[in-house]
Amino acid sequence: MRLSIVDYGAGNLPSVERAFQSLGAESERVISAAQLAAARAIVLPGVGHFSAFVAALKKSGLAASLRAAFDSNIPILGICLGLQAMFATSEEAPRDEGLGFLAGEVRALPTSAKSPHIGWNQIRHARSSQLLRDVPTDAYFYFAHSYAAPATGDCVAAVCDHGRAFAAVVEHRNLFGVQFHPEKSGQVGARVLRNFLEALP
Protein backbone atom coordinates (compact mmCIF):
# COMPACT_ATOMS: atom_id res chain seq x y z
CA MET A 1 0.00 0.00 0.00
CA ARG A 2 1.17 3.46 -0.88
CA LEU A 3 1.81 5.75 2.09
CA SER A 4 0.82 9.39 2.06
CA ILE A 5 3.38 11.47 3.94
CA VAL A 6 2.01 14.84 5.00
CA ASP A 7 4.27 17.62 3.74
CA TYR A 8 3.34 20.81 5.57
CA GLY A 9 6.45 22.68 4.45
CA ALA A 10 8.95 21.84 7.20
CA GLY A 11 10.49 18.76 8.71
CA ASN A 12 13.04 16.27 7.50
CA LEU A 13 10.82 14.25 5.15
CA PRO A 14 13.60 12.56 3.14
CA SER A 15 14.75 10.51 6.13
CA VAL A 16 11.19 9.29 6.78
CA GLU A 17 10.75 8.50 3.07
CA ARG A 18 14.07 6.64 2.92
CA ALA A 19 13.25 4.63 6.03
CA PHE A 20 9.99 3.38 4.49
CA GLN A 21 11.60 2.89 1.10
CA SER A 22 14.24 0.60 2.63
CA LEU A 23 11.35 -1.50 3.96
CA GLY A 24 9.89 -1.78 0.48
CA ALA A 25 7.04 0.67 1.00
CA GLU A 26 6.18 3.28 -1.59
CA SER A 27 5.25 6.75 -0.46
CA GLU A 28 4.17 10.07 -1.83
CA ARG A 29 4.24 13.53 -0.32
CA VAL A 30 0.86 15.16 0.03
CA ILE A 31 0.51 18.89 0.32
CA SER A 32 -3.20 19.42 -0.28
CA ALA A 33 -6.41 18.41 1.44
CA ALA A 34 -7.65 16.85 -1.80
CA GLN A 35 -4.59 14.62 -2.10
CA LEU A 36 -4.92 13.60 1.53
CA ALA A 37 -8.59 12.74 1.07
CA ALA A 38 -7.53 9.93 -1.27
CA ALA A 39 -4.95 8.50 1.14
CA ARG A 40 -5.13 4.88 2.27
CA ALA A 41 -2.46 5.20 4.99
CA ILE A 42 -1.02 8.41 6.39
CA VAL A 43 2.26 9.38 8.01
CA LEU A 44 2.32 12.68 9.89
CA PRO A 45 5.89 13.73 10.77
CA GLY A 46 6.42 16.98 12.63
CA VAL A 47 9.21 19.12 14.02
CA GLY A 48 9.38 22.63 15.44
CA HIS A 49 6.67 24.57 17.25
CA PHE A 50 3.19 23.17 18.02
CA SER A 51 1.54 26.45 17.06
CA ALA A 52 3.23 26.72 13.65
CA PHE A 53 2.53 23.07 12.95
CA VAL A 54 -1.21 23.06 13.67
CA ALA A 55 -1.58 26.46 11.97
CA ALA A 56 0.02 25.06 8.80
CA LEU A 57 -2.24 22.00 8.91
CA LYS A 58 -5.38 24.10 9.36
CA LYS A 59 -4.53 26.73 6.77
CA SER A 60 -3.95 24.14 4.07
CA GLY A 61 -7.09 22.20 4.95
CA LEU A 62 -4.95 19.21 5.84
CA ALA A 63 -6.33 19.21 9.40
CA ALA A 64 -9.90 18.66 8.13
CA SER A 65 -8.71 15.85 5.85
CA LEU A 66 -6.90 14.23 8.76
CA ARG A 67 -10.12 14.39 10.79
CA ALA A 68 -12.02 12.75 7.93
CA ALA A 69 -9.32 10.08 7.66
CA PHE A 70 -9.48 9.44 11.40
CA ASP A 71 -13.28 9.13 11.25
CA SER A 72 -13.14 6.72 8.32
CA ASN A 73 -10.55 4.44 9.91
CA ILE A 74 -7.58 5.28 7.68
CA PRO A 75 -4.41 4.35 9.60
CA ILE A 76 -2.40 7.41 10.69
CA LEU A 77 1.13 7.34 12.13
CA GLY A 78 2.21 10.51 13.94
CA ILE A 79 5.91 11.05 14.61
CA CYS A 80 7.19 13.39 17.35
CA LEU A 81 5.18 16.63 16.96
CA GLY A 82 2.86 14.57 14.75
CA LEU A 83 1.95 12.52 17.83
CA GLN A 84 1.56 15.64 19.98
CA ALA A 85 -0.76 17.27 17.43
CA MET A 86 -3.21 14.36 17.80
CA PHE A 87 -4.01 15.59 21.34
CA ALA A 88 -6.50 18.31 22.26
CA THR A 89 -4.08 21.02 23.40
CA SER A 90 -0.46 21.79 24.14
CA GLU A 91 1.13 23.94 26.82
CA GLU A 92 3.53 25.11 24.09
CA ALA A 93 0.66 26.99 22.43
CA PRO A 94 -2.20 27.37 24.95
CA ARG A 95 -4.41 29.34 22.54
CA ASP A 96 -4.23 26.83 19.72
CA GLU A 97 -6.26 23.68 19.42
CA GLY A 98 -4.63 20.44 18.38
CA LEU A 99 -6.31 17.93 16.09
CA GLY A 100 -8.13 16.63 19.18
CA PHE A 101 -8.26 12.95 18.19
CA LEU A 102 -7.03 12.07 21.67
CA ALA A 103 -8.03 13.63 25.00
CA GLY A 104 -5.38 15.30 27.12
CA GLU A 105 -2.86 18.09 27.13
CA VAL A 106 0.72 17.97 25.87
CA ARG A 107 2.91 19.56 28.54
CA ALA A 108 6.49 20.79 28.95
CA LEU A 109 8.96 18.33 30.41
CA PRO A 110 10.09 19.43 33.88
CA THR A 111 13.30 21.41 34.20
CA SER A 112 14.60 18.97 36.81
CA ALA A 113 16.06 17.01 33.88
CA LYS A 114 18.01 18.46 30.96
CA SER A 115 15.67 19.85 28.32
CA PRO A 116 15.28 19.41 25.38
CA HIS A 117 15.20 15.67 25.98
CA ILE A 118 17.73 14.84 23.29
CA GLY A 119 19.29 11.45 22.84
CA TRP A 120 18.63 7.75 23.11
CA ASN A 121 16.31 6.51 25.83
CA GLN A 122 14.54 3.30 26.78
CA ILE A 123 10.79 2.88 27.00
CA ARG A 124 8.48 0.85 29.21
CA HIS A 125 5.85 -1.20 27.44
CA ALA A 126 2.52 -0.42 29.13
CA ARG A 127 0.38 -2.94 27.29
CA SER A 128 0.40 -5.07 24.17
CA SER A 129 1.19 -2.98 21.14
CA GLN A 130 1.24 -3.47 17.40
CA LEU A 131 4.09 -0.98 16.86
CA LEU A 132 6.29 -2.66 19.47
CA ARG A 133 5.84 -6.24 18.28
CA ASP A 134 9.19 -8.08 18.58
CA VAL A 135 10.91 -4.93 19.88
CA PRO A 136 13.12 -5.85 22.88
CA THR A 137 11.94 -4.17 26.10
CA ASP A 138 15.40 -2.67 26.75
CA ALA A 139 15.78 -1.15 23.27
CA TYR A 140 16.86 2.49 22.91
CA PHE A 141 15.06 5.05 20.71
CA TYR A 142 16.15 8.53 19.61
CA PHE A 143 14.16 11.40 21.17
CA ALA A 144 14.42 15.15 20.47
CA HIS A 145 11.65 17.18 22.15
CA SER A 146 10.79 19.52 25.05
CA TYR A 147 7.04 18.79 25.32
CA ALA A 148 5.32 15.46 25.77
CA ALA A 149 1.88 13.81 25.95
CA PRO A 150 0.45 12.40 29.20
CA ALA A 151 1.68 8.99 30.36
CA THR A 152 -1.76 7.86 31.45
CA GLY A 153 -4.77 7.05 29.31
CA ASP A 154 -6.10 4.08 27.38
CA CYS A 155 -4.23 5.10 24.23
CA VAL A 156 -0.76 4.86 25.85
CA ALA A 157 1.06 1.71 24.76
CA ALA A 158 4.52 2.63 26.12
CA VAL A 159 5.97 5.34 28.32
CA CYS A 160 9.37 6.93 28.71
CA ASP A 161 10.82 8.83 31.69
CA HIS A 162 12.70 12.10 31.54
CA GLY A 163 11.98 14.26 34.56
CA ARG A 164 8.53 12.68 34.49
CA ALA A 165 6.78 9.83 32.72
CA PHE A 166 5.25 10.62 29.32
CA ALA A 167 3.68 8.78 26.39
CA ALA A 168 6.32 7.29 24.08
CA VAL A 169 3.90 5.22 21.98
CA VAL A 170 0.15 5.69 21.54
CA GLU A 171 -2.27 3.41 19.75
CA HIS A 172 -6.00 4.01 19.55
CA ARG A 173 -8.22 2.54 16.82
CA ASN A 174 -6.55 3.64 13.57
CA LEU A 175 -4.22 6.09 15.31
CA PHE A 176 -0.56 5.29 15.91
CA GLY A 177 1.94 7.72 17.39
CA VAL A 178 5.56 7.70 18.51
CA GLN A 179 7.28 10.51 20.41
CA PHE A 180 10.72 9.24 19.34
CA HIS A 181 12.04 9.33 15.78
CA PRO A 182 11.84 5.78 14.38
CA GLU A 183 13.57 6.92 11.18
CA LYS A 184 16.57 7.96 13.33
CA SER A 185 16.51 5.02 15.74
CA GLY A 186 18.61 2.45 13.92
CA GLN A 187 17.37 -1.10 13.56
CA VAL A 188 14.75 -0.95 16.32
CA GLY A 189 13.27 2.16 14.72
CA ALA A 190 13.04 0.34 11.38
CA ARG A 191 11.25 -2.49 13.18
CA VAL A 192 8.61 -0.06 14.51
CA LEU A 193 8.01 1.29 10.99
CA ARG A 194 7.75 -2.25 9.65
CA ASN A 195 5.23 -3.07 12.37
CA PHE A 196 3.17 -0.05 11.23
CA LEU A 197 3.25 -1.34 7.65
CA GLU A 198 2.20 -4.78 8.84
CA ALA A 199 -0.68 -3.30 10.83
CA LEU A 200 -2.17 -1.79 7.65
CA PRO A 201 -5.29 -3.54 6.32
Binding site: N12, V47, P116, G119, W120, S146, C160, K184, S185, G186
Partner: protein
Amino acid sequence: MTLARRIIPCLDVDGGRVVKGIEFDRLRDMGDPEALAARYNREGADELVVLDIAASRDGRATFLDTISRVARQLNIPLTAGGGIRKLEDGQSVLRAGADKVTVNTAAVERPELISELANQFGSQAVVLSIDAKRMAGRWEVFTRGGREATGLDAMEWARNGVARGAGEILLTSIDRDGTCNGFDCELTAAISTSVSVPVIASGGAKTFEHFFAVFGDGQADAALAASIFHGEIHSIHALKAYLIERGLPIRVEREL
Protein backbone atom coordinates in the same frame (compact mmCIF):
# COMPACT_ATOMS: atom_id res chain seq x y z
CA MET B 1 15.35 3.75 32.01
CA THR B 2 18.17 6.21 31.59
CA LEU B 3 19.17 8.50 28.82
CA ALA B 4 22.17 6.84 27.17
CA ARG B 5 25.54 8.58 27.00
CA ARG B 6 26.19 9.25 23.32
CA ILE B 7 29.28 8.48 21.24
CA ILE B 8 29.49 10.83 18.28
CA PRO B 9 32.07 10.53 15.50
CA CYS B 10 32.82 13.74 13.65
CA LEU B 11 33.72 14.15 10.00
CA ASP B 12 35.74 17.30 9.29
CA VAL B 13 35.23 17.79 5.58
CA ASP B 14 36.85 19.95 2.94
CA GLY B 15 36.02 19.77 -0.75
CA GLY B 16 33.93 16.62 -0.35
CA ARG B 17 36.63 14.66 1.49
CA VAL B 18 37.17 13.88 5.17
CA VAL B 19 40.38 15.55 6.34
CA LYS B 20 42.51 15.90 9.43
CA GLY B 21 44.66 18.94 10.19
CA ILE B 22 48.17 17.80 10.99
CA GLU B 23 49.78 21.21 11.31
CA PHE B 24 48.94 24.74 10.19
CA ASP B 25 47.56 24.73 6.69
CA ARG B 26 48.31 21.08 6.06
CA LEU B 27 45.54 18.54 5.79
CA ARG B 28 45.68 14.81 5.53
CA ASP B 29 43.03 12.99 3.53
CA MET B 30 41.13 10.58 5.81
CA GLY B 31 38.69 9.15 3.29
CA ASP B 32 35.28 9.32 1.74
CA PRO B 33 32.51 10.80 3.92
CA GLU B 34 29.85 8.39 2.66
CA ALA B 35 31.95 5.31 3.36
CA LEU B 36 32.87 6.51 6.85
CA ALA B 37 29.25 7.48 7.59
CA ALA B 38 28.03 4.03 6.55
CA ARG B 39 30.65 2.37 8.75
CA TYR B 40 29.81 4.46 11.81
CA ASN B 41 26.09 3.89 11.33
CA ARG B 42 26.73 0.13 11.24
CA GLU B 43 29.12 0.18 14.24
CA GLY B 44 26.55 1.80 16.50
CA ALA B 45 27.42 5.50 16.50
CA ASP B 46 24.63 7.42 18.24
CA GLU B 47 24.83 10.39 15.92
CA LEU B 48 27.15 11.84 13.31
CA VAL B 49 28.53 15.36 13.06
CA VAL B 50 29.77 16.77 9.74
CA LEU B 51 31.70 20.03 9.83
CA ASP B 52 32.78 22.11 6.86
CA ILE B 53 36.20 23.16 8.11
CA ALA B 54 36.99 25.40 5.15
CA ALA B 55 33.54 27.03 5.28
CA SER B 56 34.26 29.07 2.17
CA ARG B 57 31.42 30.47 0.11
CA ASP B 58 32.77 28.71 -2.97
CA GLY B 59 32.66 25.35 -1.25
CA ARG B 60 29.06 25.71 -0.08
CA ALA B 61 27.41 23.63 -2.82
CA THR B 62 29.96 20.85 -2.34
CA PHE B 63 29.30 20.82 1.40
CA LEU B 64 25.52 20.61 0.93
CA ASP B 65 26.04 17.76 -1.52
CA THR B 66 28.23 15.99 1.07
CA ILE B 67 25.49 16.38 3.70
CA SER B 68 22.86 14.86 1.45
CA ARG B 69 25.10 11.97 0.43
CA VAL B 70 26.03 11.29 4.06
CA ALA B 71 22.38 11.54 5.21
CA ARG B 72 21.42 8.76 2.80
CA GLN B 73 23.79 6.40 4.65
CA LEU B 74 22.28 6.98 8.08
CA ASN B 75 19.42 5.86 10.26
CA ILE B 76 20.78 7.91 13.17
CA PRO B 77 20.69 11.71 13.64
CA LEU B 78 22.96 13.96 11.61
CA THR B 79 24.32 17.32 12.77
CA ALA B 80 26.04 19.64 10.31
CA GLY B 81 27.66 23.04 10.39
CA GLY B 82 30.66 25.20 9.69
CA GLY B 83 30.28 28.68 8.28
CA ILE B 84 26.58 29.08 9.16
CA ARG B 85 26.09 32.85 9.03
CA LYS B 86 22.38 33.37 8.59
CA LEU B 87 18.98 31.70 8.81
CA GLU B 88 19.09 30.64 5.15
CA ASP B 89 22.43 28.84 5.67
CA GLY B 90 20.87 26.82 8.47
CA GLN B 91 17.81 26.11 6.37
CA SER B 92 19.88 24.79 3.45
CA VAL B 93 21.85 22.49 5.76
CA LEU B 94 18.62 21.09 7.25
CA ARG B 95 17.02 20.77 3.82
CA ALA B 96 20.05 18.84 2.62
CA GLY B 97 19.23 16.20 5.23
CA ALA B 98 20.75 17.28 8.55
CA ASP B 99 18.56 17.09 11.67
CA LYS B 100 20.50 19.76 13.56
CA VAL B 101 22.69 22.68 12.64
CA THR B 102 25.71 23.99 14.57
CA VAL B 103 26.57 27.68 14.85
CA ASN B 104 29.77 29.16 16.21
CA THR B 105 31.53 32.34 14.99
CA ALA B 106 28.47 34.02 13.49
CA ALA B 107 26.49 33.43 16.70
CA VAL B 108 29.15 35.23 18.74
CA GLU B 109 29.09 38.14 16.30
CA ARG B 110 25.30 38.22 16.13
CA PRO B 111 23.65 36.19 18.95
CA GLU B 112 20.16 36.74 17.44
CA LEU B 113 21.11 34.07 14.90
CA ILE B 114 20.51 31.45 17.61
CA SER B 115 16.95 32.62 18.32
CA GLU B 116 16.17 33.03 14.62
CA LEU B 117 17.14 29.40 13.99
CA ALA B 118 15.39 28.13 17.16
CA ASN B 119 12.16 29.98 16.35
CA GLN B 120 12.12 28.59 12.84
CA PHE B 121 13.26 25.00 13.42
CA GLY B 122 12.93 24.40 17.17
CA SER B 123 15.61 24.32 19.87
CA GLN B 124 16.19 20.62 19.29
CA ALA B 125 17.66 21.53 15.88
CA VAL B 126 20.11 24.19 17.10
CA VAL B 127 23.52 23.26 18.50
CA LEU B 128 25.73 26.06 19.82
CA SER B 129 29.37 25.18 19.19
CA ILE B 130 31.78 26.79 21.67
CA ASP B 131 35.57 26.65 21.39
CA ALA B 132 37.05 27.47 24.78
CA LYS B 133 40.57 28.03 26.07
CA ARG B 134 41.77 28.41 29.65
CA MET B 135 42.89 32.00 30.24
CA ALA B 136 43.83 33.38 33.66
CA GLY B 137 41.53 31.30 35.80
CA ARG B 138 38.56 31.13 33.47
CA TRP B 139 37.62 29.77 30.05
CA GLU B 140 37.45 32.22 27.20
CA VAL B 141 35.50 31.76 23.98
CA PHE B 142 37.49 31.76 20.73
CA THR B 143 36.07 31.98 17.21
CA ARG B 144 37.30 31.52 13.63
CA GLY B 145 38.46 27.97 14.22
CA GLY B 146 40.05 28.83 17.58
CA ARG B 147 42.19 31.67 16.25
CA GLU B 148 40.38 34.73 17.53
CA ALA B 149 39.86 35.65 21.19
CA THR B 150 36.44 37.15 21.92
CA GLY B 151 36.78 38.23 25.55
CA LEU B 152 33.60 36.24 26.33
CA ASP B 153 33.48 33.93 29.33
CA ALA B 154 32.54 30.42 28.14
CA MET B 155 30.09 29.74 30.98
CA GLU B 156 28.30 33.05 30.45
CA TRP B 157 28.18 32.54 26.70
CA ALA B 158 26.81 29.03 27.11
CA ARG B 159 24.03 30.30 29.40
CA ASN B 160 23.30 33.17 27.04
CA GLY B 161 23.11 30.80 24.05
CA VAL B 162 20.72 28.47 25.86
CA ALA B 163 18.52 31.41 26.89
CA ARG B 164 18.35 32.36 23.21
CA GLY B 165 17.20 28.88 22.24
CA ALA B 166 20.21 26.62 21.70
CA GLY B 167 19.14 23.04 22.43
CA GLU B 168 22.62 21.58 22.87
CA ILE B 169 26.18 22.77 23.44
CA LEU B 170 29.06 21.30 21.45
CA LEU B 171 32.02 22.20 23.65
CA THR B 172 35.57 21.95 22.31
CA SER B 173 38.61 22.45 24.51
CA ILE B 174 41.23 24.27 22.43
CA ASP B 175 43.86 23.31 25.02
CA ARG B 176 43.17 19.61 24.55
CA ASP B 177 42.22 19.48 20.86
CA GLY B 178 44.75 17.37 19.00
CA THR B 179 46.77 16.56 22.13
CA CYS B 180 45.53 13.02 22.80
CA ASN B 181 45.65 13.90 26.53
CA GLY B 182 41.94 13.34 27.07
CA PHE B 183 38.91 15.58 27.28
CA ASP B 184 39.04 18.64 29.54
CA CYS B 185 36.77 17.23 32.25
CA GLU B 186 36.96 20.36 34.40
CA LEU B 187 35.77 22.60 31.57
CA THR B 188 33.08 20.12 30.53
CA ALA B 189 31.70 19.76 34.06
CA ALA B 190 31.73 23.54 34.56
CA ILE B 191 29.60 24.08 31.44
CA SER B 192 27.43 20.98 31.87
CA THR B 193 26.36 22.00 35.39
CA SER B 194 25.69 25.62 34.41
CA VAL B 195 23.26 24.97 31.52
CA SER B 196 19.96 23.08 31.30
CA VAL B 197 20.68 21.48 27.90
CA PRO B 198 22.85 18.48 26.93
CA VAL B 199 26.58 19.09 26.49
CA ILE B 200 28.71 17.28 23.92
CA ALA B 201 32.39 17.20 24.93
CA SER B 202 35.06 17.45 22.26
CA GLY B 203 38.84 17.72 22.01
CA GLY B 204 41.64 15.45 23.19
CA ALA B 205 40.12 11.96 23.07
CA LYS B 206 42.54 9.13 22.52
CA THR B 207 41.78 6.22 24.84
CA PHE B 208 38.66 4.45 26.12
CA GLU B 209 39.52 5.76 29.62
CA HIS B 210 39.22 9.33 28.31
CA PHE B 211 35.60 8.67 27.33
CA PHE B 212 34.82 7.06 30.69
CA ALA B 213 36.31 10.09 32.47
CA VAL B 214 34.34 12.69 30.51
CA PHE B 215 31.05 10.90 31.22
CA GLY B 216 31.99 10.66 34.93
CA ASP B 217 34.06 13.61 36.14
CA GLY B 218 33.16 15.69 33.08
CA GLN B 219 29.39 15.10 33.43
CA ALA B 220 29.11 15.11 29.63
CA ASP B 221 25.93 13.92 27.93
CA ALA B 222 27.81 12.97 24.79
CA ALA B 223 31.41 12.70 23.63
CA LEU B 224 32.70 13.53 20.19
CA ALA B 225 35.89 12.43 18.45
CA ALA B 226 37.13 12.47 14.89
CA SER B 227 40.39 10.95 13.77
CA ILE B 228 40.67 8.17 16.37
CA PHE B 229 37.70 6.46 14.78
CA HIS B 230 38.60 7.14 11.14
CA GLY B 231 41.77 5.10 11.16
CA GLU B 232 40.02 2.14 12.76
CA ILE B 233 42.35 2.45 15.76
CA HIS B 234 39.19 2.19 17.81
CA SER B 235 35.88 0.73 16.77
CA ILE B 236 32.79 2.35 18.25
CA HIS B 237 31.50 -1.08 19.12
CA ALA B 238 34.58 -1.89 21.25
CA LEU B 239 34.45 1.50 22.97
CA LYS B 240 30.80 0.96 23.85
CA ALA B 241 31.46 -2.54 25.19
CA TYR B 242 34.15 -1.02 27.45
CA LEU B 243 31.79 1.68 28.76
CA ILE B 244 28.93 -0.78 29.36
CA GLU B 245 31.27 -3.02 31.37
CA ARG B 246 31.94 -0.01 33.59
CA GLY B 247 28.26 0.48 34.22
CA LEU B 248 27.42 3.41 31.95
CA PRO B 249 24.06 3.52 30.15
CA ILE B 250 25.05 2.98 26.54
CA ARG B 251 23.02 1.95 23.52
CA VAL B 252 24.18 -0.96 21.41
CA GLU B 253 22.99 -1.30 17.83
CA ARG B 254 21.57 -4.71 17.12
CA GLU B 255 20.11 -6.67 14.29
CA LEU B 256 16.38 -7.34 14.49
